[in-house]
Symmetry: C2
Subunit: 327 residues, 2 copies
């Protein structure tokens, strides 16, 4: 197996790379080579196979082609400009999220070997808001530019799959919780911050009320879904390459309750509610619940309970985050 | 009113331009200038207002910007590579249908005055086939590259409308019948050919069986919808800029019956049934019926009866087609 991770320096890219290095195999086949590609050169990765690390712009067709060499079996396309940033800088979002995906499409097509492409689309490509429970054939009516660009990327890769240029699985990722590191420019950054920051001993602000529900998944689930999407039989997908994986609908109140159960009342007390109209305007339209029956039938794994998400962050990411942020 | 028609040399572009020249007004406001833009320089148009005619590539941002000068109120974006051609030449379809629409978006955005954009999307952006009756919120799951590119164009213009770069109405046009001129590279070309060719005294082949149903509209309806889309209040559309206008579901048998009623049995006898698997593979997925309730509520006009479509072609386009083809 020859594998490329675009966005290899991101939080999920690094977790995925580490998992591949640990396993040494994907779908039962030994990994022969891994290319990590990102805007900044990805960090070294000890692995039982050669790891190429490349810095480049995902909207640069030549750079992307170099990152997807002949013989590539699987491309994880995780490179993106996130929601609040794509809203603030329209041209940057278009360049990375649309032209970047076009560059990936053309690089895969040029191979002539129909590689598997696992594309991270997003719950932000839907609207419907707090009341909706979205069926598997729900229309994508994005209420933000990031979501629109993700829906466009899906259409491109879906059509390219029909033409056998490549073989895409478009995963509409829920909001991933708990993200390590620092708050980022995703509008959903608070979903991780209200768990992570208190565990670091820091105060944080929650921009939405306690009753606000979010469709979430753990980093562990996201990685498990990536691996499944990379190796599953895509024939049953037919024309429809979009997958709503089985996340979990959780209110902020439930998240904070899980935090309190694991880390005590003093951790929870570090979260203050400070409404942020700009963030609310973006996240208000995101649906907080999906049926996700198709994904379950296709073998995508269920979520762990919320307390488990908090414990997993403590076990796997808390110390590294503390070090990274000099705390 | 300053108006631009991109694709001004096409069949609908020419009909629209002629109608504007005849009316002299749009939405009750006098037309101050009209720009016709196409790959080949559009034909001269006698009109009570200045008409600029420009040749250029819709995927060339500078050419498109020149065709949409400051002060433009309405842009009709009809420029496209049609279905069978976009299927045969992927890169050409992508260039014209995707990058062309991006150029239109950026040119309108640069004006800073939020012009109205009437975009011709297509029934080909849906799938579902013969059995489906599509609701107004049906998901676009295109089964051909043309349809995918049209759905992408809709997403781009819809998001640009939300951002107030422009003010789009995305009309998913049914198959237009009866088209004048020659057969073209649309997979649906036969829908017009089985009426037009017999009326010209020519034999023609129908690639699908008599029972095959198509979602159609007349050129007259298409033009009426364009004018309504150009002048309607878009506030009630909200986020959703896609319109399924009230076409008509008609089988080939019904079309030929209308032909026979208007032009006699000898006209109908000029149609032979010769199955074409390539055409069938494209059109089989197109839905042949839509609910179209939203469009009716928004004031989009109903279709005339089928016989009326045949008579309108005879009255308005038969002689010109005969001349154009030297018959």
């Amino acid at each position: 197996m020859r594998i490329t991770i675009l966005g290899g320096n991101g939080f999920l890219g690094r977790k995925l790379a580490a998992r591949l290095a640990r396993d040494g195999v994907l779908g039962g086949r030994p990994i022969a080579a891994l290319t990590l590609f990102d805007l900044a050169e990805p960090a070294p990765l000890p692995a039982p196979f050669p790891v190429r690390r490349q810095a480049g712009d995902v909207a640069d067709p030549a750079a992307v082609a170099a990152a997807i060499p002949p013989g590539t079996d699987v491309v994880f396309h995780l490179a993106a400009v996130v929601s609040a940033q794509a809203e603030a800088d329209y041209d940057l979002g278009l360049r990375v999220n649309l032209h970047g995906t076009l560059a990936v499409l053309q690089a895969c097509r040029a191979l002539g070997t129909c590689p598997r492409v696992v594309f991270t689309s997003s719950v932000a490509s839907f609207s419907g808001g707090q009341e909706a429970v979205l069926p598997d054939d729900a229309r994508q009516l994005p209420a933000n530019s990031y979501g629109a660009q993700k829906a466009i990327g899906e259409l491109l890769l879906q059509d390219a799959s029909r033409r056998r240029f490549l073989d895409a699985v478009n995963l509409r990722l829920p909001t991933v919780m708990v993200r390590p590191g620092r708050p980022n420019r995703a509008a959903s950054s608070f979903v991780s911050a209200i768990i992570r920051e208190p565990l670091l001993g820091l105060e944080t602000e929650c921009p939405v009320p306690e009753s606000f529900a979010v469709w979430i998944c753990s980093p562990r689930s996201a990685i498990a879904w990536f691996l499944h999407a990379a190796t599953m039989d895509t024939a049953p997908l037919g024309l429809d390459r979009g997958i709503n994986p089985p996340g979990r609908s959780a209110t902020v109140a439930k998240m904070l309750q899980a935090l309190e159960e694991v880390a005590g009342a003093e951790a929870r007390a570090r979260v203050r509610f400070v409404p942020d109209p700009e963030i609310q305007a973006i996240v208000a339209d995101w649906p907080a619940a999906f049926e996700a029956d198709r994904a379950r039938r296709l073998g995508f794994a269920e979520q762990e309970p919320l307390e488990e998400l908090v414990r997993a962050f403590i076990a796997e990411d808390l110390e590294a985050t503390r070090r990274e942020r000099g705390l």
